[in-house]
């Protein structure tokens, strides 16, 4: 049992007896600083020390496994170019992610508008998912040209499926009573969508977005592996070709950081603009 759980984490969710017992809806969760922050950082530093020591003691060649200190110095030496590569990848990730949202949202709304449309489109969606994106990438380069477009398309293809499914599930799981309530006020189809279905789907949409943003980084890198003259994926390919393993590791670390930061951006956007959604997910996990 975790000591920082809210006191009313009982099984009965619908009838809390005291409003004061309910978890607060707020920007910051209550957290135990020592346990939640310092402990993992400590473990991480320990891991780095073991890594550094192992490389030194066993004299592992730098092209096989560079020590953390070497990764650091080699990457800092190339800070300027690496920065440009990072920005290029970030651009692909964010653009691809936005394209994915812009297409997924109307698609999910369209799909859930009737069972007929759903059964017509759903198998096609599954089909697009069964195609290995890595295999598709070179074909897309031939079709769309050696530019940013195939990278964006791959990022989109990797991210849109979980997003469409999450949004569709959200739109479909509105309680029947809530829809009846809307109908009893003579809500139009548009009002029902805009005032009931979409707001209800917000927590589902955000869980989809969190999965999608992590996948967007993967998609962008796959695109860069196949065709790019910039980007961290491109940097890894070129660096390893010349056995500059420390630089490749540096790019790898930057990609991980990018993934974490973008994920947190999504989390923070949810907390700021949809605090009730973030709060409902926290209690669901607790």
């Amino acid at each position: 049992m975790n000591s920082n759980n809210p006191p009313s984490a009982s099984g009965n969710s619908s009838s809390a007896t005291d409003a004061a017992d309910m978890p607060k809806i707020g920007f910051w969760r209550r957290s135990n600083l020592g346990q939640d922050v310092l402990l993992p950082i400590g473990v991480f530093i320990l891991l780095l020390i073991v890594w550094e020591a192992a490389v030194q003691i066993f004299t592992i060649p730098v092209y096989l496994l560079p020590a953390p200190s070497v990764i650091w110095t080699d990457s800092i030496a190339l800070a300027g170019p690496i920065g440009e590569h990072t920005l290029a990848t970030l651009r692909t990730v964010v653009l691809g992610f936005i394209i994915s949202i812009v297409i997924s949202l109307p698609l999910a709304v369209f799909m859930t508008s009737s069972p007929v449309i759903s059964s017509a489109i759903y198998p096609l969606l599954v089909l697009t998912q069964s195609i290995p994106k890595v295999a598709l990438a070179p074909i897309l380069v031939v079709m769309l040209g050696a530019n940013e477009l195939p990278r964006l398309v791959i990022t989109f293809l990797v991210t849109f499926f979980p997003l469409v499914i999450a949004i569709a599930i959200g739109l479909m799981s509105v309680p029947a009573e809530l829809l009846e309530l809307g109908r009893s006020f003579k809500a139009s189809k548009f009002q029902e969508l805009y005032r009931i279905r979409l707001p209800y789907a917000v927590p589902f949409i955000f869980s989809g977005l969190k999965v999608a943003i992590a996948l967007a980084v993967v998609g962008a890198v796959v695109g860069e592996f196949v065709n790019a003259d910039k980007g961290l994926g491109y940097l890894i390919i070129t660096a390893t070709a010349f056995f500059k393993t420390p630089v490749a590791f540096g790019a790898l670390i930057l990609l991980s950081i990018m993934g974490i930061v973008l994920f947190q951006v999504v989390v923070i956007i949810e907390r700021i603009f949809f605090p009730w959604s973030a709060a409902s997910q926290e209690t669901a996990i607790a």
């Binding site: 619908s14 309530l181 006020f185 009730w276 409902s280």
Partner: protein, 253 residues
């Protein structure tokens, strides 16, 4: 006045068989009367309420309100469901105002009206809270305010206290009587509780199941205002006993 005339509703089940939910229901309800509908599970009492609300259409027969046949939800009807079904993303105040927003009937004093209603059910000071911060009973009170915000002449309540604990339930029954006294309106109230049915009603409609039919209509002439003390009253006991006989009678022995 609500006139229910030879109303029947047949549902088609998934395997294609017809299920008769309601058969030949006829009932006339005068304005500002409190009608409770009681009966075993599956007697079609919720279906009756949905037909009266216009959410579903009858297979045959009709519901007429003030001379007009009900074909779709009406603006002069308010509905309370078993679950509060509040919007989790909206504050209590916005939840109460929701019907007006949907019907584009929001006016300058709407907020004040909503605050007044919330105050009346003891939710003053909770306007800015979110539903999740309220207990089940408080949520249902807010749902009742929502059903009253457009000042309907008819209030349809489908087991509104069914999901509440016994104590809250008794409290809410008295609450709804108080609201009804202050703002007289026709109430159709579906319940599983025989005590609740007698306590609240001018007339209790007792239904039987499969197919759903009216078994008997019992007039309750107990004095008002009523409290739970009235349970000791001879006529209360008689009415409750009669309902029990109608519902369980043929199962005894």
């Amino acid at each position: 006045m609500i006139e229910i005339d030879r109303l029947s509703k047949v549902f088609r089940s998934r395997d294609g068989a017809d299920v008769v939910a309601l058969e030949d229901i006829s009932l006339t309800i005068d304005d500002n009367k409190f009608i409770t509908i009681v009966g075993p599970s599956g007697c079609g009492k919720s279906t009756l309420l949905r037909l009266a609300s216009g959410l579903i259409r009858p297979t045959s027969g009709s519901v007429t309100i003030d001379g007009a046949v009900v074909e779709e939800p009406r603006q002069d009807t308010g509905i309370v469901f078993q679950m509060p079904v509040l919007l989790p993303w909206a504050t209590i105040l916005d939840n109460v105002l929701f019907p007006l927003k949907m019907m584009h009937r929001e006016e300058a004093d709407s907020t004040e009206q909503a605050r007044h209603l919330l105050g009346m059910v003891g939710l003053g000071g909770f306007e800015g809270k979110y539903p999740r911060e309220l207990s089940g009973g408080m949520q249902q009170r807010a749902a009742i305010c929502r059903a009253l915000i457009h000042d309907p002449n008819i209030l349809l309540m489908d087991e509104p206290f069914g999901a509440l604990d016994a104590l809250t339930r008794e409290e809410m029954a008295l609450e709804i009587l108080r609201i009804w006294t202050n703002q007289p309106k026709t109430i159709l109230f579906v319940t599983h509780s025989i005590t609740e049915a007698v306590l609240l009603a001018d007339r209790v409609v007792v239904m039987s199941a499969r197919p759903g039919r009216i078994a008997e209509i019992i007039d309750v002439d107990l004095p008002r205002p009523r409290t739970f003390e009235i349970e000791a009253h001879h006529e209360f006991q008689q009415s409750a006993q009669r309902i029990r006989e109608l519902i369980f009678g043929n199962r005894r022995g």
